[in-house]
């Protein structure tokens, strides 16, 4: 129910690549917002403590931190929505494909015949939102395909399906 088709919700850049068919759960927007916000918060608390304890003679730290914080706020507001629009995925009978990123973008394709492992994981924050991420690796150090922000049932079902497909592939998939 969460992964709906949005053929028009493509990225702002015209692309030669067609969009992967499916989106992740809309709850992923909140997940990304909160994880970004918490990450920034921890960082700024550390910077604040270090500045207060040892570096308070450096006058330029405060304005620099202010500029940085502005960027952080903008990122927390803008990034999750853009990321949600960009982050699309699909599993065809022959390949798994995912597009990620927000400013920089990346599209990864792994043929199912070459898949080595299929994992799904749930971090603490993800568990809070009932989401999970799925990682499909091949026998290469480059290019594991990760789909982040799937709702838990989809991730589990997909992992089971992909495992079944790869188990049926003969050879060692290298």
């Amino acid at each position: 129910m969460d992964e709906t088709r949005h053929p028009d919700a493509s990225s702002s850049t015209p692309s030669v690549l067609n969009d992967p068919a499916r989106q992740v759960s809309p709850r992923a927007v909140a997940l990304w917002r909160w994880s970004a916000a918490l990450g920034w918060l921890v960082l700024f608390v550390i910077i604040g403590v270090v500045w207060r304890l040892w570096l308070d003679h450096l006058w330029w730290v405060l304005p620099a931190a202010a500029v940085w914080a502005t960027y952080a706020v903008v990122q927390v507001i803008v990034m999750p929505r853009v990321r949600y629009r960009v982050h699309r995925w699909e599993v065809t009978p022959l390949a798994v494909r995912a597009r990620t990123g927000w400013l920089s973008r990346e599209q990864r394709i792994a043929p199912l015949s070459r898949v080595q492992t299929v994992d799904w994981t749930q971090g603490p924050l993800m568990r809070l939102f009932g989401l999970a991420s799925l990682t499909v690796t091949t026998a290469s150090s480059a290019g594991p395909v990760t789909i982040e922000g799937l709702d838990r049932e989809t991730a589990e079902r997909l992992a089971a399906e992909l495992t079944a497909v790869t188990g049926a592939t003969p050879g060692d998939a290298t």
């Binding site: 400013l103 920089s104 990346e106 394709i109 792994a110 043929p111 290469s140």
Partner: protein, 521 residues
């Protein structure tokens, strides 16, 4: 011939002597230190006892470890047993054996021995048998590779048929006679010896002219050595004498030092080249393996399963390129350091491309080793030039900071001009050589400015794609395309390729995957 009959065998008894010598060698320095310390106490008997004890220990442990080390193999597995107090038995299924490499360092060679290293597909652990006689090790290699293939593809039963000279050896109890009878036609000839096969390349002594071109590495070592020597001998009279021997003017002194460093670098590079590559022979053996034998002092023998080769890399280092020299490397999954095995040292480029062609065996009409590659266009070039200007600006900034700190007044036009020219030249060279090509079996990627490379990857070896675009690349319509593979470094990258070209490459190189990707939307 070693019959695969499940008997425990020992390594060569000459190993006792060799182990003793190496153990005594490694003991020599600590013993010497202790002896020198003790002799201050004027008690000579102690040092004598210590020396005798050390020798007895060395010989005794050598005999024990030789006695404890045994190996055996039958139709399905190889076992190596070792350890005196803690006995371990390593077992490798024959169908998992990927490589059997022989190596004979100088001492081994003098005694006619060779170390056998057996690599399996199960991980990084390899099994070493140190050492067998040269003939024994060559035969073991032959047997293991043949039996491994036999076990992995149920068809090959070559080794099951007896040849006239091994009638006495027991027949391996291996598979039922029915299957054996079925594939008999394969084998009426005696077991192929290690030197059988088609020779793809043999080192020509004239190629030694390319050896000194590796001088950059040698020169770096020389500089490091000189620096270490300087640190070591700075308090002696040596530096004074060296400085006196140098010409008076700074410019002349720099020239002399440069000449010395370059000459030493050339000498070292030549030494390395000759000692590792002398007598190199690359053969294609029946049964689908490439066999590389090489080395002057230490001889080594490397086997590559052809089914695991995914491509080759042609490398053209800067100075060798002036003589049109190049080296050749095989990209293979699960072997060598970083998945690469060097097949040829720096040698004539034509030879390297011809051998690369032989290794890849492309279908007629495909010539991935020499096919011209398609460049990445003016936008990609502009990006390279902008990056060059940024680099020059950053470096100029650093020089400026240094100059204002040390109160120098350098000739700014010269410095800035030289930097822009240098980085601009590198950018232009990168652009000229950078490109990609595709035939129906291979993806070809050329890159590099001074160190040029051409990577040829078989498209069947591509196990995934990544098309990445940074913000700036998106504005420029360019992308970074990465083809993932299980061989070599694990990926091949095409930098700043126009997005349309990247998509076309993906679509044409792996059409089956791509068609379905398109069809679903």
């Amino acid at each position: 011939m070693i019959p695969p009959d499940d008997q425990w065998r020992r390594t060569d008894a000459r190993m006792i002597g060799l182990t003793t010598v190496t153990r005594l060698g490694s003991l020599a320095i600590p013993v010497l230190v202790v002896v020198l310390r003790l002799s201050e106490d004027e008690d000579q008997t102690w040092s004598l006892r210590l020396a005798v004890g050390g020798a007895v220990l060395a010989v005794g442990s050598a005999i024990l470890s030789w006695h404890a080390t045994r190996y055996r193999f039958d139709a399905t597995r190889l076992q190596v047993r070792r350890g005196v107090l803690r006995r371990t038995v390593l077992t490798a299924p024959l169908d998992r054996i990927r490589t059997v490499d022989l190596e004979a360092p100088l001492l081994h060679r003098a005694l006619g021995l060779a170390k056998v290293t057996i690599g399996t597909a199960t991980g990084s652990d390899s099994i070493t048998l140190d050492s067998l006689s040269r003939a024994q090790s060559a035969e073991l290699r032959e047997q293991l590779l043949r039996w491994g293939r036999g076990a992995s593809s149920a068809l090959v039963t070559e080794a099951a048929t007896t040849t006239p000279d091994d009638d006495t050896s027991p027949l391996p109890a291996r598979e039922n006679p029915a299957t054996r009878a079925a594939d008999l036609p394969a084998v009426a000839h005696p077991a192929p010896r290690a030197d059988d096969g088609v020779v793809l390349a043999r080192l020509d002594p004239h190629w030694v002219r390319y050896a000194p071109t590796g001088l950059l590495g040698g020169a770096a070592t020389t500089v490091a050595l000189l620096a270490a020597l300087w640190g070591f001998a700075r308090d002696t009279a040596l530096p004074r004498r060296v400085l006196d021997a140098l010409p008076g003017s700074t410019a002349a002194a720099i020239v002399v030092v440069l000449i010395v460093v370059v000459a030493a670098g050339m000498l070292m590079a030549t030494g390395t080249w000759v000692s590792s590559w002398w007598g190199a022979t690359l053969t294609r053996e029946p049964g689908g393996t490439l066999h590389l034998r090489r080395g002057l002092m230490t001889t080594s023998s490397t086997t590559l399963e052809e089914a695991r080769i995914r491509g080759v890399r042609l490398a053209e280092p800067p100075i060798a390129r002036l003589l049109t020299g190049a080296s050749l490397h095989a990209l293979s999954s699960g072997t060598g350091s970083a998945g690469e095995v060097q097949l040829l040292p720096t040698c004539p480029r034509d030879v390297a491309t011809a051998v690369g062609h032989q290794v890849l065996l492309p279908s007629p009409g495909n010539d991935p080793m020499t096919v011209p590659t398609r460049g990445h266009g003016p936008v990609a070039r502009r990006r390279l030039l902008i990056r060059a200007v940024i680099r020059a600006a950053v470096l100029t900034g650093l020089v400026w900071a240094l100059a204002s700190w040390r109160d120098w007044t350098p000739a700014w036009p010269v410095i800035v001009g030289a930097q822009v020219a240098w980085f601009g030249l590198l950018a232009e060279l990168t652009h000229r050589h950078r490109g990609h090509a595709l035939d129906d079996e291979h993806l070809v990627v050329t890159s590099g400015a001074l160190w040029r490379t051409r990577v040829v990857l078989q498209t069947r070896g591509i196990i995934g794609w990544t098309i990445g675009q940074t913000l700036l690349q998106r504005r420029a319509g360019l992308a970074t395309l990465t083809a993932a593979t299980s061989a070599g470094p694990g990926f091949v990258t095409v930098e700043d390729v126009p997005l349309e070209d990247a998509v076309a490459l993906v679509a044409q190189a792996t059409p089956d995957v791509w068609e379905r990707v398109r069809a679903t939307v």
